[in-house]
């Protein structure tokens, strides 16, 4: 399988339909680009699947699809995002992520150089997180059918003994901790959207949170009730979801919620609310009041939890409202997002 007539022209070439046809061109793309980027013993075997040893304990599994536009944004690209997002979904169970799969749906005409940048970013993010991308798939579709590139992933991990994080464990009086500033990812993406380009120094917070989670679990143990990563729909969607699932309500303090000035300004301009804007490197933890301070200190000691804050508490509420005392002095609900969060027009 080594002797192709010509090397993949990564600098000038692009994907065409033959790269998805199962022939030699596809094999060349997979070995020349993806294996190179992900480099591990499982892929090197070239099987249709990968076998791996299962450690003792409970396993978690997750799956995710990535359709971000634009594909490249300040602070990352669709490749790094796919790894971070999948790792984080595993980590929110308190689990250690182990293996990922990645499947690529590529539009014909997509440049090899862009694909390589994306695959390299995935490989790098995986190595940094200590996970391996051990199986994958490549499909090529006609121009205009995939907006460049879609990636879908799956991931497995293993949960430490005795840990079972879940929404129904939340109790009245539990504290709500957030690992850092809200809305960075959403604003970074929007700043690059066609029609909307604006200048900002904000970069996406896209990052793997498993190490932060491990430190939190070490500090708080079973005092940690549950963790979630507030991605689409932001903190508001996450807390409303947890309120429904746990049968509780939440009371937040707006003043305690960290938001970067640049994000606040962009949201102001676009008529958005940072509480509803997506994050890709943040987590919300509901923890018992006894361990709240210890867990918060552990978060702040970690580079990804530097701006962590205690932003409110779980309360008894038959209506499962998420309420917030505004920094202005009044009260309001933080409701589910309805529809897309679009700028108001006047």
């Amino acid at each position: 399988m080594k002797s192709y007539q010509r090397k993949l022209d990564i600098r000038n070439g692009c994907v065409d339909l033959s790269h998805g046809s199962g022939g030699r061109a596809m094999a060349q793309l997979i070995s020349g680009l993806f294996h190179e980027a992900f480099g591990n013993e499982w892929l090197a075997r070239g099987n249709d699947q990968s076998a791996f040893d299962v450690p003792a304990g409970r396993m978690v599994m997750t799956t995710d699809g990535y359709v971000v536009s634009p594909l490249f944004f300040p602070g990352g690209n669709i490749g790094s995002l796919a790894v971070h997002g999948t790792v984080n979904d595993i980590a929110m169970a308190g689990a250690r992520p182990l293996y990922l799969s990645a499947s690529f749906i590529i539009e014909e005409g997509f440049r090899f150089s862009d694909l390589k940048t994306i695959a390299d970013a995935m490989g790098e993010a995986a190595r940094a997180a200590g996970v391996h991308i051990i199986t994958g798939d490549t499909k090529v579709v006609e121009r205009g059918k995939a907006d460049g590139l879609f990636i879908s992933t799956a991931g497995v991990g293993v949960v430490p003994d005795g840990l079972d994080l879940s929404a129904e464990k939340a109790r009245v009086g539990d504290r709500v901790l957030i690992s850092g500033t809200l809305g960075d990812h959403g604003v970074a993406i929007m700043s690059k959207r066609q029609n909307l380009a604006f200048e900002t120094e904000i970069v996406s917070d896209s990052a793997s949170l498993h190490d932060l989670v491990a430190k939190m679990v070490a500090a708080g143990g079973k005092g940690i009730r549950l963790m979630r990563d507030p991605t689409r729909g932001g903190l508001a969607a996450t807390l409303n979801e947890v309120a429904q699932q746990s049968g509780l309500g939440f009371g937040l303090q707006e003043e305690a919620i960290p938001v970067k000035p640049g994000v606040a300004a962009a949201c102001e301009l676009l008529g958005l609310d940072p509480l509803y804007v997506a994050n890709e490197g943040k987590l919300v933890a509901i923890v018992s009041p006894e361990v709240a301070d210890t867990v918060l200190a552990a978060m702040r000691a970690h580079p990804l939890g530097h701006d962590a804050a205690d932003i409110g508490e779980a309360v008894a509420d038959d209506h499962h409202f998420v309420q917030m005392a505004t920094s202005f002095g009044g009260g309001r609900i933080v409701d589910w997002l309805s529809g897309e969060q679009l700028p108001r027009i006047c």
Binding site: L196, Q323, A325, I333, G339, L342, R344, I345, C346
Partner: protein
Amino acid sequence: MKYADEFRDKEIALGLSKAIRAEADPQRSYRFMEFCGGHTHAISRYGLEDMLPKNVRMIHGPGCPVCVLPAGRIDMAIRLAMRPDIILCVYGDLMRVPGSQGASLLKAKARGADIRMVYSTIDAVRIADENPAREVVFFAIGFETSTPPTAVMIRLAEKKQLENFSVFCNHVLTPPAMQNILESPDIRSIGRVEIDGFVGPAHVSTIIGTAPYEFFAEEFGKPVVISGFEPLDMMQAILMLVRQVNEHRHEVENQYSRAVTRDGNLRAKEEVSDIFELRDQFEWRGLGQVPYSGLKLKRSYARYDAEIRFGMNELRVDDNPACECGAILRGVKKPVDCKLFGTVCTPETPMGSCMVSSEGACAAHWTYGRFRDHQQRRAS
């Protein structure tokens, strides 16, 4: 955030709240209408109601252009957008506004209509430039603030000699609607609530100035205080209104003097009057037909008027008979008084105008304030 946090300061807010409490006469009630959706949104988002005494009540007016757009106009736009030669450019807020029988632009887009969300009128001109073989129509909507950008866009299209560009004009005017709320005979069938004063528009007034309200204040004997959209602006404006009422004055006062002058933006007004003229009447969701409250393109710009260009027929759709938007917009009823509120009518599936945009009275109350209803029920 500089230039924003200064207008959201808690200490100053508490000071203003105290002053309103001290100066409001406990023997009487004060009912002020904030005309603009921007004000309604600020009241709800910052929880201003919690900072006012019980006898100072805010009535949420019809100043949300998305909310007052009648379902028939949405149906007209959908019918147009379904034509294969048309690209319809709209502001995002319009996408979910209900037409008749649950139709919306969002659903039409899913069914294949080429509807593009734009953030500025310039984007619509660019799309027309890039698609010379297609007809590009801009769904123009909004009060006096959004009309000048539409005028600028038409000028630009003219300069670029774009043959494939037109405007579906739904621009409306503030003063006629305020007047209608006070004097329309419809009020008698609904009943009426005496309004003691108006919080006047912020952005609209940057264009039209404070002068147009002078006649209004004089004729109807109602104080008007032009206010900015920040929560401290509103608290100060409410205090100014309380003082006018207490002193039996009915003047136009300008709280938003950092942006609004007496004459407004002369250049913008000139652009608008060059290109647009008054319609005899225009339908407002919740208010019905309001005389001289809408704009259309002048005859000399008829080639840019989508209604003429495509022979669009006026469509009329009756609102749900159980919907109380008309009474809510006039302050006669509150959102919770409507049987549809929070049952079949929610921001996900809005039935009436007030639930459509986050600036509508019902949507704002649902999204930010409905916990108060439960608190009140528990207290009583």
